[in-house]
Symmetry: C2
Subunit: 400 residues, 2 copies
């Protein structure tokens, strides 16, 4: 096991630059720090000697010499990434540079409870290790994403609405039976934000990732790092009130954006419109399938159904009201919107944008870019891998 505590601040900076980069030559890595060239080269040589970084092979260059690119060494060990969705589990092994070595996804029902789900996760992880020839001791860190609120320090779920029975289950203790590696647990939208941050090479310092599905959550990157707040509850934007006279929410308050514009609210509005005879197209779909989804609504809207488009615009407008409050407070550079409800399509995004620009101050939206989240292959497990790397080898002692 590598002792990350023994890394100097300078060595950690070099590992950090390399991790967030798209690959750097020795010269580029040395130049990316404020060390002198000779000091940087000495430190790089030392990190290579200790098998913390390695050459990944020559890269094509524009005509001149072909510099050898450096990466975090695959010899250090692996990270395990576990992404638990409401209806699926993904288990992967990743190299420290986030190369996916093995990745399996299968259907699962979180309502079966944590013991059953984690028995399966453990088996999948064991199989992955066998395929890769990796022992349990070579696992450097484990990242776990779950679809519910997490107290990050303890790794425990807190009042998870979609995960009854998970609150008293310690994912850490469960995995500690087989792995000495530290285990980090976070909610799915923070994982999505970390994965996005890494894919963008850490270039954006202050941005948000919003996930709109059964609920609405937000991952926050602030000063270049994930921001979890005092209790791990930061980003719980689904219960921001957008209309004090609005409908009741399961949280006990009225007019929460989640009660007005998340997946179930959108489906309910579509079904009401169908039953009220406002949309023959939605009526036909409802009669055929017994229910309507945001995708049905998006299809109807794109086909020119006025009632469907009105619902899409209303829901987008409510999301935009919530985001306008967040933009006035946080002034982010980008908002990336993801989650199942984005399948509604471009009118939903346009409605969100219109509402945000109308209700935020001009200075806050001067450079604001609102778009759907970039599609990233293996996004969930990469996000958990990024978390595991950040919390182990890249973790610095608290500054004060």
């Amino acid at each position: 096991m590598v002792d990350w505590q023994r890394l100097s601040d300078g060595e950690r900076t070099l590992l950090e630059r390399l991790f967030w980069s798209d690959g750097l030559s020795r010269g580029e890595l040395a130049a990316s720090t404020d060390f002198s060239k000779s000091k940087a080269n000495l430190a790089i040589a030392s990190l290579i000697g200790r098998e913390l970084i390695e050459e990944s092979g020559a890269q094509p260059s524009s005509g001149g010499r072909r510099p050898e690119m450096l990466r975090l060494s695959h010899r250090m060990g692996v990270l395990a990434g576990i992404d638990i969705g409401a209806t699926s589990v993904d288990v992967a092994l990743l190299a420290p540079d986030m190369t996916v070595l093995d990745h399996r996804s299968e259907a699962a029902d979180v309502r079966a409870g944590p013991v059953a789900v984690f028995a399966r996760v453990q088996a999948l992880l064991r199989e992955a290790r066998e395929r890769c020839g990796v022992g349990a001791a070579q696992v450097l860190g484990i990242g776990v994403g779950v679809p519910g609120p997490v107290a990050f320090d303890s790794g425990m779920l807190v009042n998870p609405p979609l995960l009854p029975g998970w609150e008293s289950f310690s994912i850490r203790d469960c995995l500690a039976e087989e792995y000495a590696a530290p285990v980090f647990v976070d909610n799915d939208v923070n994982i999505m934000a970390l994965g996005t941050h890494w894919r963008l090479h850490g270039r954006l310092q202050n941005f948000l990732v919003i996930k709109i599905g059964t609920g609405i959550g937000c991952g926050i990157i602030c000063h270049g790092a994930i921001y979890r707040g005092m209790d791990g509850a930061a980003g719980d934007v689904g219960h921001i009130c957008v209309d004090p006279h609005g409908p009741p929410c399961h949280c006990g308050n009225a007019g929460c954006v989640e009660a007005m514009a998340a997946g179930p609210a959108i489906a309910r509005m579509a079904e009401q419109a169908a039953r009220a005879g406002e949309s023959p197209r939605l009526k036909e779909l409802l009669d055929r399938n017994g229910q309507l989804t945001p995708v049905d609504l998006g299809n109807a809207s794109r086909a020119g159904d006025a009632a469907a488009s009105a619902i899409v615009q209303q829901a987008g407008g409510q999301i935009g009201r919530m985001l306008a409050a967040v933009v006035n407070f946080f002034n982010p550079s980008h908002i990336f919107i993801g989650g199942g409800v984005t399948q509604i399509g471009p009118l939903f995004l346009a409605s969100i944008r219109q509402s945000v620009y109308q209700r935020s101050l001009a200075l806050s939206t001067r450079h604001l870019d609102i778009r759907y989240v970039p599609q990233i292959e293996n996004a969930g497990v990469i996000g958990t891998g990024v978390m595991a790397v950040q919390e182990t080898m890249l973790a610095r002692a608290a500054r004060l």
Copy 2:
């Protein structure tokens, strides 16, 4: 002039620890870093030799030896702190450890325009330097607080509602005529947040300072540092909508918290209650003075006036609605509330608290502490001094 670029990361860490501390002995300073003791002692000796830190004299200790305390050296030079309020200017000279060397405050009217105000500021600064025997070249950095939105990078005001004529005025260029030192400009609530952060020795990593006066603004400390957002607009919470069916706001939208619960809205509600005969006490005050203030309202409420108390509770409730949205998003550990409207008294604070706790999620308020901002002597100029120190000697190269 000290060349801060030449400081190593380690030296900067030592200066940083010292700046945020309440004074540290050599041993304490060495122990506060993760350097080896010998490396720390060498670096401390070098910083003393270069007159960047110095001994401040023996401090009383609990019986044993009396260690010499270290501080940032007064020989380095001074910081200038300029705090411009709507009706006053404060000008101070501070040592690098935030000792106030000279401080004058006088009435001023920002509506007279920036040229007139800064002619006076320049004169006050010159007089202060003469009293302290400090030349213009010994000024290391200048911090300026203004009561309006600032684009921090350019130091220019942007659409300042209370400061017509200031938008095209460059405070930097004006001060550059006499001073080579860098000039940093920020809004008053960020300055209040920085001053509070320093007085609390940087111990709180994630908290908010809300200022409720003519407008409503918020200073954000995130990951231990002031957070200004993409355009310097972060914390502009006055235009968060708390009721889409609410009254129109000068920003063009409806139901902004500033239009419903800032000083002018509170005074208006009090005057309406007085005219409607709901409060003989307020009626009498209105007849006598021609207007009502939040202080009048607070006095009436404390004297048992039901109509006054209802207005206080309503305004506090609206502030709380806005803060509940912010708490759900940001999950801070503390919210400190300041500004003239806090003179209303404890019922206002209680109403804010009740509204926040009712409308925020339980996990977000588990450790949340909401209170009036701690009273700090020379708060404004110390906040500008903290900004100047942070942006000069403690500024680090961007990490990525």
